[in-house]
């Protein structure tokens, strides 16, 4: 990889914004599994495997699955964020394998928010 110059920082920012933003990147949904130690200890890895499995089964190409660190509310882990194009991100708490599969099939694929497991919508900043 080439060593960066200062001007390259802005270019990377542009590229990442383009490839991870839902609109410009061609994806319509982004699923983030929060995987700090707290998340992993309460089962985030199982949740990640479940969503990967469902994604494979669905054969959808416009869904991004990614991981992130602790979002602060450790007692409600595993936490998962589902962000659909043009909608506010939805945070699910206490997610497990079957819940993740249902969230994927009903919310990610069909747009039906699984209100019963939602912690909140939006983001902190």
């Amino acid at each position: 990889m080439a060593k960066l110059k200062i001007s390259d920082l802005a270019k990377i920012k542009e590229q990442v914004t383009a490839s991870t933003s839902l609109r410009e990147g061609g994806a319509s949904v982004k699923v983030t599994v929060h995987m700090g130690t707290c998340g992993i200890a309460s089962g985030a890895r199982t949740v990640l495997n479940a969503v990967m499995d469902e994604l494979e089964k669905s054969a959808r190409k416009d869904v991004i699955i990614t991981t992130s660190g602790c979002m602060g509310l450790c007692s409600a882990e595993p936490l998962v964020t589902v962000e659909k194009l043009g909608e506010e991100p939805i945070k699910y708490s206490y997610v497990d394998d079957p819940k993740m599969r249902q969230i994927f099939n009903r919310h990610v694929l069909e747009g039906e928010i699984q209100t019963q497991w939602v912690l909140a919508k939006g983001s902190e900043q």
Partner: protein, 513 residues
Amino acid sequence: MKRFRQHMLICGGTGCQAAGSVAVKDALVKEIAKQGVADEVAVVETGCNGFCAMGPVMVVYPEGTFYVALEEKDIPELVSEHIVKGRPVERLFYKEPKTKEIIPDMLDIPFFAHQQLIALKNRGILDAENIDEYIARDGYKALAKALAEMTPEQIIAEVKTSGLRGRGGAGFPTGLKWEFCSKSAGEVKYVLCNADEGDPGAFMDRSILEADPHSVVEGMTIAAKAIGSHEGYVYCRAEYPLAVHRLQLAILQAREYGLLGDNILDTGFAFDLHIYQGAGAFVCGEETALMRSIEGKRGMPRPRPPFPAVAGLWNRPTVLNNVETWANIPQIIQNGGAWYAAIGTEGSKGTKVFALTGHVNNIGLVEVPMGTSLRSIIYDIGGGIPKKHRKFKAVQLGGPSGGCVPEAHLDTLCDYEAIQKVGAIMGSGGMIVMDDSTCMVDMARFFMDFVQEESCGKCTPCREGTRRMLQILEKIVEGHGEPGDLDTLEELAPMIKTSSLCGELRGPLGLQG
């Protein structure tokens, strides 16, 4: 077969029947006869269509209009409007449940609403293992600014203006520390990060390293320019494998991008970073012991002065700051010291991260502006005590070196001096909430046990004295306390405190005194 222009499919499932579909159907049949359209419209009773909660439900074809929660009294209007005049009755339509209004906004939830994120600004947002995502959130922009546009003196001035104080617990002004070190003579200087988070109940530093390791790398590199250092270490406990892994990846990626190593960002500045894994001795969180440990020696404190800014790692001038302190630096450089100093109290600026745990509803990582009251953290953010019949007893701050704050002092503000005044310390951010089922003597015993176990043994009063104090506390907890025990504790405490080298003991002994 007779042909109808419209079909009205009314649900006759058990759910809809219970909700009154039979009466609705009868009313419907009567009404279409009354309005003279019985030959044109068929009323059909169907099986359950699954939407029982909104019953009685009816679909009108060929339009496919879906009516819900019908009542007998709605029928005349429905027939005359929809069937006779062809105008579907909107008020009886099925409406999408207003999930979006039902779901609270994140910032309507007190846990998030009362927080202000600086050190944790990227929490839960970026992929910690991908440097590009950090850069996309303006990462390394502060480093570019520091390297290309600022002199070391300007960097130090900015940090001094910010009023940032050491987040490891002692609260020494960070800018001042850097200034001392920058003025120390020597070609070789070191920048260190203390990630040997050892206080029971504390997990702030681990979470920062796991969620946003590049903020620490960037902060340390900025300091390197400020003091003229070209090499640094992160001393992280081996019990944090995920933090070590993500930090390791961050360092490798930063090196590949030329954000560490020679000629950083093509500015000619060189700095590289290594991880040193600690073996889990609490005393190695003490700065002089930490440095000895990196040198490959047994981690034990030494007397100060000389201070690390003059003679630290391998006797070279060294700046050591804690993870959270480092994570604040990039934003101070980017937004300016004055921006940071505008947050907080007179003597304590910016925000503080706490690991909120114990008998509290919301356990987690909390970042609040300095000046927030302990009560607000525990009740607004933490959601209070979980068991209804239990009451708050005390909150333990600052780990073994800290103290317990009872109800009477809960309105104390997050401020280094204010917390010290009520007998605890700000500490690194451990905050253990206890309800009234907690025995405070047992709490003292727990911390004394911890300190006794972790005493490095260098100072005899600590090594032997804590054992004796632990024995007395165990005796009291078992119900065999004797008159004079408290006097003995009170006599031992200041003696051990004043005749031992490091700060490990200040708190637990303060508990007694």
